[in-house]
C-alpha cells in the first residue's frame, strides 16, 4: 500500500455572497497517495478548483481537515502556510501567470528567492528546471517573446524549481492548442514518472484527464466517482475519461 500524501477529511467550503451562503464543497473526503497523478473533473461550479486551492494551501476550508504529508494545512497560520507553499507545492495555472517584466530565467528564479540558496545555487537550480522543460535556450526571453506552450513550460519550470513533492495544476492545457497541450501533458507525465511528483490536475478535457492514473469526478461539491487506472503505469484512457466527464 502506498502511503497517502494528501488526506482530505470531511471538508466543507462555503462562500457567503451578500446574505446567501453557497456550499461549494460539502463534506468531501479524499486521499491521494504519494506519487499519484490525479485528474479532478466535473462540471463548472462542481468545486474542482476550490478543492485544488485547498490542497495547495491557498484557501481554507470552512470545516474539516486537510493534511499534506504530516502537515495539517487547514490549521496553519497565514505566514506558516506561505512558507509551507514555497517549500512543498508547485502551482501551474491555466493562463501561465508569468511575471511579464521578468525573463524566463527570472520567473523560474522567483520562488527560489524565498529560499536561503546563494545566487549561484539559485542560478543552477533555475537553469536545471528550465532544462527539464527543454527551454535552456530561452533563459533571457520575456514571456511576450514566447509561445503559449513555451510560457506554460516556463510556468512548469517555476513550479518545480524548488523541487516540491506536490504539483497542482489548474487546467494546464486549457489555454493551449492541441499540439502544445499534448507537449505539456507529456511533460507532466514525465515529472510524475521520472521525478516521482504527486500531481493533482483540474481539467475539463477528457484527453488531458486520460493521461492521469486516477480520475476523481466531482459534482455539486461531492465526490461522484473515483476511478483508478488498472496496472501500475496504466492511464485512465480517453474514452473512460469522456464517459466519466459526461456523467455516464
Amino acid at each position: 500500500m502506498a502511503e497517502p500524501l494528501i488526506r482530505i477529511e470531511n471538508v466543507v467550503k462555503q462562500y457567503t455572497r451578500d446574505t446567501q451562503v453557497l456550499t461549494v464543497l460539502d463534506g468531501l473526503s479524499l486521499e491521494v497517495d504519494k506519487g499519484e497523478f490525479v485528474a479532478l473533473m466535473g462540471p463548472s461550479g462542481s468545486g474542482k478548483t476550490t478543492l485544488l486551492n485547498l490542497i495547495a494551501g491557498i484557501d481554507r476550508p470552512t470545516s474539516g481537515r486537510i493534511l499534506v504529508g504530516a502537515d495539517e494545512v487547514s490549521s496553519m497560520s497565514e505566514g506558516a502556510l506561505a512558507k509551507w507553499r514555497s517549500e512543498n507545492v508547485g502551482f501551474i495555472f491555466q493562463l501561465y501567470n508569468l511575471v511579464p517584466v521578468l525573463t524566463a530565467f527570472e520567473n523560474v528564479e522567483l520562488p527560489l528567492l524565498l529560499t536561503r540558496l546563494s545566487k549561484a545555487e539559485r542560478k543552477k537550480q533555475a537553469e536545471t528546471a528550465l532544462a527539464v522543460v527543454a527551454l535552456s535556450d530561452r533563459l533571457d526571453h520575456y514571456p511576450r517573446q514566447l509561445s503559449g506552450g513555451q510560457e506554460q513550460r516556463v510556468a512548469i519550470a517555476r513550479a518545480i524549481a524548488t523541487d516540491p513533492a506536490l504539483l497542482v495544476a489548474d487546467e494546464p492545457t486549457g489555454d493551449l492548442d492541441s499540439k502544445s497541450g499534448e507537449e505539456i501533458l507529456v511533460l507532466l507525465e514525465r515529472l510524475h514518472s521520472e521525478f516521482g511528483k504527486t500531481i493533482v490536475m483540474v481539467t475539463h478535457d477528457p484527453k488531458a484527464a486520460a493521461r492521469a492514473h486516477r480520475l476523481v469526478h466531482l459534482d455539486k461539491g461531492v465526490l461522484k466517482e473515483d476511478v483508478r487506472a488498472k496496472g501500475e503505469k496504466g492511464e485512465i484512457g480517453v474514452a473512460a475519461a469522456a464517459a466519466i466527464a459526461a456523467g455516464k
Binding site: T50, N53, A56, I58, D59, E78, G79, A82, K83, W84, R85, S86, E87, F91, F93, L95, N97, V99, P100, V101, L102, E106, L110, P111, L113, L114, K119, R158
Partner: protein, 385 residues
C-alpha cells in the same frame, strides 16, 4: 537585495506612465526647493556673523519719516555703542524706471560706513579715492559688470522724491552681500537740497558685543520716546525681514504653497501606485501562491512606491543643483538682489525636499500595498488582466 530587480522592473513596466509620474514629482520637488531656499535665504546671515552686532535706528512711524541728525551724538554716547553711521535712501532713477535699471542708491558717511560694514572689501579702486570725493561713488561689483562701468566712469542719478540730479564718478568697487548697490556721500544731496540737511533716514550702530546689541535697541528708543521723532531700533536682520513682512506673512504663504505641492505629489503618486497595484492583482496573487508572505508583498509595493518618489526626488535634486546658479545669478541681478545674496544650496532645504517626497511615496504606497496584501489569493487569481 535579491528582490531589487523585481521592484525596479515593476516600476518601469509602464514606462510612459512611470516617466510622467516621475516628471510630475520632479517639478513640485523643484518648486519646493526654490521656495525653501528663498525662505532660508531671508534668514541667512550674509555678513559672516558681523551683522549680529549691527543695529538700525529709524523713525518709529515709518521709514518715510526722517529723524534729526542731532541724535547721532546722543546715540554714540550710549554704553556699548562702538560706531555710528548714517544711511539715507535716495531713490531716483538711473536711465529709466525699468526693473533692470533698479538698484539700491544710498547717501552715506563714507568713512564710518566702511568701518561698520567691515566685511565689505574694496576690489577695485581705492577706498580713499571714494571717501575724499564728494561726488564719488562706491559701486557693487555685480552692478559694475551689469553696466560695463570702469573706475572713473560717470553716471547720473535723476532724483524723484529728492528733486536733484547727482552726477557721480565711480571711485571704488566693493564685494559684499548685495553687490548691486551704489553708495555716495550724503553731503552731495544736502548741498543741492539744503532742505534735507540735518535729516537722517537711518542710523546704523555697531555694538561692542552681542550683549550690547541685545540691550541697545531699548536704550536708544527709550532715549527718544517722548521726542517729536521717536525711534524704532532693531537688529539688522529684523530690519531686513521688515521689508519681507511688508509683502505679508511670507513664511506662512511659502509653507502653505509647499504643503499644497506635497499634497499634489501625494495624490499623483497615490494614483499611480493604486493603478499599478490594481493592474497586478493577479500577479500579486501568483506571488503569494509561490509563497511570498503578506509582509514581503507589502514591502515590495512600498519599495516600488518609494523608488518612484525617490527617483523623482533625486532627478529634481539634480535639476535644482544645475538650475541653482542660474537662478541665483538672475536674482542677484534683479531688484531682489538683497534677498538673493543669502541664497545657497541649503542642505536642510534639500533634505526636507527629499524627505517630503519620500514620505509622500511611503504614504502613497501604503493603501495599495495593504489592499494587495489583504486580498484573498483565490480572489486575486480569479481576476483576469
Amino acid at each position: 537585495m535579491k528582490f531589487v530587480p523585481y521592484v525596479f522592473r515593476s516600476l518601469f513596466r509602464k514606462k510612459t506612465r512611470s516617466i510622467l509620474t516621475i516628471a510630475s514629482i520632479v517639478l513640485p520637488f523643484f518648486v519646493i526647493c526654490v521656495l525653501g531656499t528663498l525662505l532660508m535665504a531671508l534668514d541667512a546671515d550674509t555678513s559672516g556673523g558681523k551683522g549680529m552686532y549691527r543695529l538700525v535706528v529709524r523713525h518709529k512711524v515709518s521709514l518715510g519719516n526722517a529723524i534729526p541728525e542731532a541724535y547721532r551724538e546722543r546715540i554714540a554716547q550710549l554704553p556699548g555703542v562702538k560706531d555710528v553711521t548714517i544711511l539715507n535712501w535716495f531713490g531716483g532713477q538711473y536711465r529709466d524706471n525699468r526693473p533692470e535699471n533698479m538698484f539700491a542708491r544710498f547717501g552715506c558717511e563714507p568713512e564710518s560706513l566702511l568701518r561698520i560694514f567691515d566685511e565689505v572689501t574694496i576690489v577695485e579702486g581705492k577706498a580713499a579715492d571714494w571717501t575724499s570725493d564728494r561726488s564719488g561713488a562706491l559701486v557693487g561689483e555685480r552692478l559694475m559688470k551689469r553696466y560695463g562701468w570702469k573706475i572713473g566712469d560717470k553716471f547720473v542719478l535723476k532724483g524723484d522724491i529728492f528733486p536733484i540730479n547727482l552726477e557721480l564718478t565711480v571711485r571704488a568697487v566693493f564685494r559684499g552681500s548685495d553687490e548691486t548697490g551704489v553708495y555716495f556721500d550724503r553731503k552731495a544731496v544736502e548741498e543741492g537740497l539744503p532742505l534735507v540737511k540735518g535729516q537722517v533716514g537711518t542710523f546704523w550702530i555697531k555694538a561692542e558685543s552681542a550683549d550690547a546689541a541685545q540691550r541697545l535697541p531699548r536704550a536708544v528708543d527709550a532715549m527718544f520716546e517722548n521726542s517729536s521723532a521717536p525711534t524704532k531700533t532693531e537688529t539688522e536682520k529684523e530690519f531686513q525681514n521688515g521689508f519681507v513682512s511688508m509683502l505679508g506673512n511670507v513664511k506662512a504663504v511659502v509653507t502653505g504653497i509647499s504643503t499644497a505641492i506635497a499634497l499634489v505629489i501625494l495624490l499623483i503618486s497615490a494614483n499611480t501606485m493604486a493603478m499599478a497595484a490594481r493592474e497586478r492583482v493577479t500577479e500579486i496573487a501568483v506571488l503569494r501562491t509561490l509563497g511570498f508572505g503578506k509582509p514581503l508583498i507589502l514591502t515590495l509595493i512600498l519599495a516600488e512606491s518609494l523608488l518612484l518618489s525617490a527617483t523623482g526626488a533625486f532627478v529634481g535634486l539634480g535639476l535644482f543643483r544645475i538650475a541653482f546658479p542660474v537662478l541665483k545669478e538672475g536674482l542677484l541681478n534683479s531688484p531682489m538682489a538683497g534677498f538673493a545674496a543669502g541664497m545657497q544650496l541649503f542642505p536642510e532645504v534639500l533634505m526636507t525636499g527629499v524627505g517630503i517626497t519620500l514620505l509622500v511615496g511611503l504614504v502613497a504606497g501604503i493603501v495599495p500595498a495593504i489592499r494587495s496584501a489583504q486580498r484573498s489569493i483565490p480572489d486575486g487569481l480569479r481576476q483576469v488582466g
